[in-house]
Each structure stands twice: as C-alpha cells, then as structure tokens.
C-alpha cells in the first residue's frame, strides 16, 4: 500500500515537471482549449456587466440626452459629407496611381470584436476578444478602436484571441510623427500609477523639431501594423542619454483601460474580392 502511494506521488511529480518544461508550442493547444471552453461564459458575464453599466449610464444621463442626440446628428451629417468627399478623392487617387503605374493600396477588412477579459495578472498588458481563428483573426494583426491603435494579436484560439496592448513594454511599433514625418519606435511603459496609458517613442532624429501635441501614427514599416493608424499625441520630448536621438512620451488616443469594442485589421489583397467578416466586417 505504502509502495503504491509512493509510486503515485512519483508519477504525479514527474507529470508536473514535464508540464512545466513543455515547449510553448505544445502548451498553446491546451491553453487554447481552456480559453475556447470558457469564452462563452466570459462573454456572457462581460456582456451582462456591460449592459448593467450602460443602463446605469443611461439613467444618469437622461437629462442631457436630447442635447447629446442633437450634437450626434450634427456630427453624423458632417461625417457623411466628409465620407462622400473622401470617396471621390479615393477614386481620383486610384486612377492617378494606375496611370503612374503604382501598386494599388492594400484594402483593409475590419473584424469587429468585443473585449471579454483583461489581463489582471499585472505582468503583461493584454486583453481577450471574442473572435478567433474561425472569424479570420490571425497572430500579428493590428487591433484598433474607434480612437486609434490598441495593440496587436499575440495568440489566437478558435473562438478567442489575445491582444498585446500598446502599453506593454514588449509591444513595439514603427511610428511616424505626422507633422514632420520623423520616424521612431513606440513601445509601452507598462502600468502607470494613475492608470494612464503611456508609451515612449524612441530613436527620433534629433534635428527634427518635435512638439507636444504632435500626432503620432504607424509608419507601416516592419509589416505588422498598416500605415497611418493613429497611436496618440506627443506629451513631452526629451533628449536621449547618448545625445544622438530624441525620445517622446506619447499619450495613447485609445482609452485602453475601458475599451469594450475593438477591430482586428485584416489586410485584403487588392486583386481578390474582400470576404465579409462574420458579424459584418466593415471596410476601411
């Protein structure tokens, strides 16, 4: 009896040690299975919580609703006009590009997704969305919100995907200052005391003047993030310790801490007709 018990403990210890030392590629399958299994529950709880918050916000904002409605209607009318104008400009641009023999710009398909969980372990800045490989989400796709870049897809299961946020120090984005065209690398600064999302743009040419308030967008270099996605605004500019470059603190435009809906950006080759994402993928 004692020998049998000893054997069981030894087998258990070996199993745990094997599990601890499995390569990441093999453990990913197990992780994805658990994530997919828990996704519907996480989704419904997150949805319920969101509805509660929305309901409460509606009750609190009842007084200002008419004014808000009026403001939104004006904004919609203005934006519709802008879209019409941009469409004609886009057509003209495409015609000119074809005349000059330039390659057509890549089209982007947006896969809408809802945030169902956030990384609460504090070591990494991630969130989980309710769309996975079966909806067309793939690793390294850029993830944006209506306000701008949020991060990139780090891992995908069948029904969910994990997004490495812009605020994570390991998320590095090739960026450009819109006003001057100066290039640099943006990376997250990790969690801040006040909960703000702070990033730093490094390796900016020291001879180019960078000012607080300058818009920072993705440069498109590196191949992960499409060009022109808004990252945020310059908050403070400092000289690098070596004196060779400038660094700039960037405040993210997207409110990463309270995001509820995001879009995974899928590149669509211009030759092929764009497949519609499940749930109504919007074209950009």
């Amino acid at each position: 009896m004692r020998e049998r018990r000893f054997t069981i403990w030894v087998v258990l210890a070996i199993l745990l040690l094997v599990l601890l030392n499995l390569p990441a590629a093999q453990t990913l399958g197990v992780k994805n299975a658990v994530r997919s299994a828990l996704a519907p529950l996480q989704e419904s709880v997150s949805d319920g919580w969101h509805r509660l918050r929305e309901g409460w916000a509606t009750v609190r904002g009842l007084g200002g609703m008419a004014l808000e409605n009026q403001r939104m209607s004006t904004e919609v009318a203005r934006l519709l006009g802008e879209v019409r104008e941009l469409k004609s400009l886009e057509r003209e641009n495409e015609q000119l590009r074809s005349v000059l023999g330039f390659a057509s710009r890549e089209l982007r398909d947006l896969i809408p997704a809802e945030v169902i969980a956030r990384s609460r372990d504090g070591w990494w800045q991630t969130l989980r969305i309710n769309k996975g490989s079966e909806h067309g989400v793939a690793p390294d796709q850029a993830v944006i919100s209506v306000d701008g870049l949020v991060g990139r897809v780090s891992s995908v299961s069948r029904r969910t995907a994990d997004v490495l946020l812009l605020s994570d120090p390991t998320c590095r984005v090739s960026a450009q200052i819109l006003r001057t065209g100066a290039f640099g690398i943006v990376s997250g600064r990790g969690p801040q005391w006040d909960g703000a999302v702070l990033c730093r743009m490094e390796f900016i040419n020291k001879n180019i003047a960078v000012r607080p308030g300058d818009e920072v967008v993705t440069s498109g270099l590196g191949g992960v993030f499409p060009r022109g996605l808004l990252i945020g605004y310059v908050d403070r500019v400092t000289m690098d310790r070596s004196g060779l470059y400038q660094n700039a603190d960037i405040i993210s435009k997207a409110d990463i801490g309270t995001l509820q809906y995001v879009f995974a950006v899928r590149d669509v080759p211009p030759e092929t007709p764009a497949p519609r994402a499940e749930g109504g993928g919007a074209r950009r």
């Binding site: 601890l20 996480q42 709880v45 504090g122």
Partner: protein
C-alpha cells in the same frame, strides 16, 4: 456533490478573477479567488480532492494568462499539500486561520511565479514593483480567503457535501 461544487466554483472564480479590477497600490495583483479556493479545499477536504482542486485551478489560471503552463499548477499543488498536511495543527474553521494561510498561500504562489518568470526573463519589472506586488498579494490573500471560505462552506453545506459551517 463535491465535484459539482468544485466545478461551479472554479468556473465562477476564473471568470470573476479576470473581471475584478486591480489597483496600483497592490502592485496590480489580481483578487486571489483561485488561491482562496485552493485554501478552502486544503483545509476541508481529503488529499485527492485537494490535489484535483489545486491542479485544475492552476491549469485554468495559467491558461487564461500568459504564464507558462504548469507554473501555478505546481505552486498550488505543493502549497495545497503542505496546508493539508498541517491543518490538524490549526483551527481550520477560524477566520484568523483563513487570513494567515490565505495571505501566505497567495504571497508564496506569487513569489514562485515571479521567480519562474524572472528566471526565464519573461518579465523585467523594477524592484519596487516586485516588492509592492508581493505585499499586495499578501494583503489581498488575507482579505479574500475568509470570504471565499465562507461562500464555499455555504455552497457545500447547501449541496450537502460538508456538514459543518465556518464559525
């Protein structure tokens, strides 16, 4: 019935732990619901169920985070077995026991995970953050564990899995 209670508790804890907010003052340590569950099973149930709870809680926690799979499983299993071994020496239904054991369990598991992540160079946080995180885990473990114990004891009493209630 114990299995049903364990299954329900693990599901609820996994979802809630991922939703409850964290603060800078506790080093962004999450509310240790899973750790509270492991403590409850270690103080109340037989060794096989303690192991089952520890391994499943660890597996779910690792799967839902970026932690290497098996890290939390291992830490929970070892901690659970140690608590189960010495539970006869303490008053397992006293809230003071839950506070002390909960704080030690959560801080211990956090320290172990931290060391594994640092060893594999998966994180590079400042020293102050590591200290704050450990203190946060200690405090949250002490606060959350008695609550989890009371809730689980009520659930299992309702389901008929245990006969005694927490004092």
């Amino acid at each position: 019935m114990s299995q049903v209670a364990l299954f329900l508790a693990l599901l609820a804890a996994a979802v809630l732990q991922a939703m409850l907010p964290t603060t800078a003052w506790t080093g962004w340590a999450p509310a240790p619901l899973m750790s509270g569950l492991v403590l409850y099973y270690s103080l109340i149930h037989r060794r096989p169920l303690v192991l089952e709870a520890a391994l499943l809680a660890g597996l779910i926690e690792d799967s839902l985070s970026q932690m290497p799979l098996g890290t939390t499983c291992f830490a929970y299993a070892v901690a659970g077995l140690i608590i189960e071994r010495y539970r006869d020496d303490v008053m397992e239904h006293q809230w003071t026991t839950h506070v002390a054991f909960g704080a030690m369990l959560n801080a211990g598991v956090t320290l172990f995970s931290m060391l594994i992540l640092l060893k594999d160079e998966l994180i590079h946080p400042p020293i102050l953050y590591l200290g704050l995180r450990l203190v946060g885990a200690l405090v949250l473990g002490g606060i959350v564990s008695p609550i989890i114990f009371a809730v689980m004891n009520r659930l299992e009493t309702t389901l008929g899995s245990v006969e005694v209630e927490a004092s």
